[in-house]
């Protein structure tokens, strides 16, 4: 019961996010808009109910389950892109390596600089 009550809150914020997306013609998905709005709402409210906390924890723990059906699709449409696999693989592997490196270095650099600044 309590978890369902929290789920209802999440669904309502998702519907709110979708409404914003459609009515304001935003290029961002309703889920992300809902996430932004619920975060601000909680900041204003100053606390989060147990119902909502347990519902969100439950959903986050099965995030992988929810993306699986989409992932499976690649195995069934693979032959459409034959001849491009080298480009795809290189872009994903090398590209991701470079972007992870960039993120870590940038974060490290700016954080350390900020800490030195404070000292």
């Amino acid at each position: 019961m309590t978890m369902l009550r929290g789920f209802l809150v999440l669904v309502l914020f998702f519907i709110l996010g979708e409404s914003m997306r459609v009515l304001l013609a935003l290029p961002v998905s309703g889920g992300v808009l809902g996430m932004v709005v619920i975060t601000f709402t909680l900041m204003v409210k100053g606390s989060v109910s147990d119902d909502l906390a347990s519902a969100s924890q439950g959903l986050i723990s099965v995030l992988v389950l929810l993306i699986m059906p989409g992932v499976v699709g690649v195995f069934f449409t693979a032959d459409q892109f034959s001849g491009q696999w080298l480009a795809v693989a290189a872009a994903l592997l090398v590209g991701t390596f470079l972007s992870v490196l960039t993120t870590l270095l940038l974060m490290k650099l700016v954080t350390e600089r900020g800490e030195q600044h404070r000292e």
Binding site: M35, T39, M68
Partner: protein, 240 residues
Amino acid sequence: MSELFSRLGVLADTLAATPILAIGLTLGAFFAGNWLFARIGRPLWLPPVLLSACLLSGVIAILAVDYQAYQQGARWLTVLLGPATVALGIPLYQQMHHIRAMWRPIVVTLPIAATLAAVYALVIAWALGATPEVLASLAPKSVTAPIAIGITEQLGGSVPLMMGGLLITGVVATLFVDLLARLLPVTDERILGFALGLNGHAIGTARAFEISHTAGAFASLGMGLTGVFTAMILPLVFHL
């Protein structure tokens, strides 16, 4: 005997007409993947999502389930991605004090890293002769699935290819974060979490929650911000 066979045929049709078969298969593969993952000693390079997806594809192929029909049925699960994305706001709120303390590195890193995540992949794929459709499918590779689907459709890419790219990106981003964290070295959980979410979307975020709640919150933040930022920037950049 032939009576039984015809009834078996009817049974298959009856089950295939409802989403319950697709839901059962997906749930079954999810738990089987997790079980197998624990049994083979939790290797980082083979996360549960990849195991489960391979199992599920195998079963769908063997049972000769129509992929489109499966996808239709599985919508009962995938529709929950919306509320699940909203749910990421809760750890974000709970960890707000950590995030406030890190606002400067986040504001500096996010636009640069999120843009480069797409640009690196696009330049490499383009140099190796990928078609515009493939490029459009690769561009949102670091963006969480519900947003990435919207971006790819807008750019004219293939959603299944994009999802495959997303999966591989999530897996290798998790690997590279672990590897580079040791080489550089970076030990700050907040930085690791942010890098996991920014580059590895939901898969990276799932991994970050394994590290700690704080890393998970930073991953949610990285994932959310990357999603919003990329969704707004990419359609503009891509048309240049």
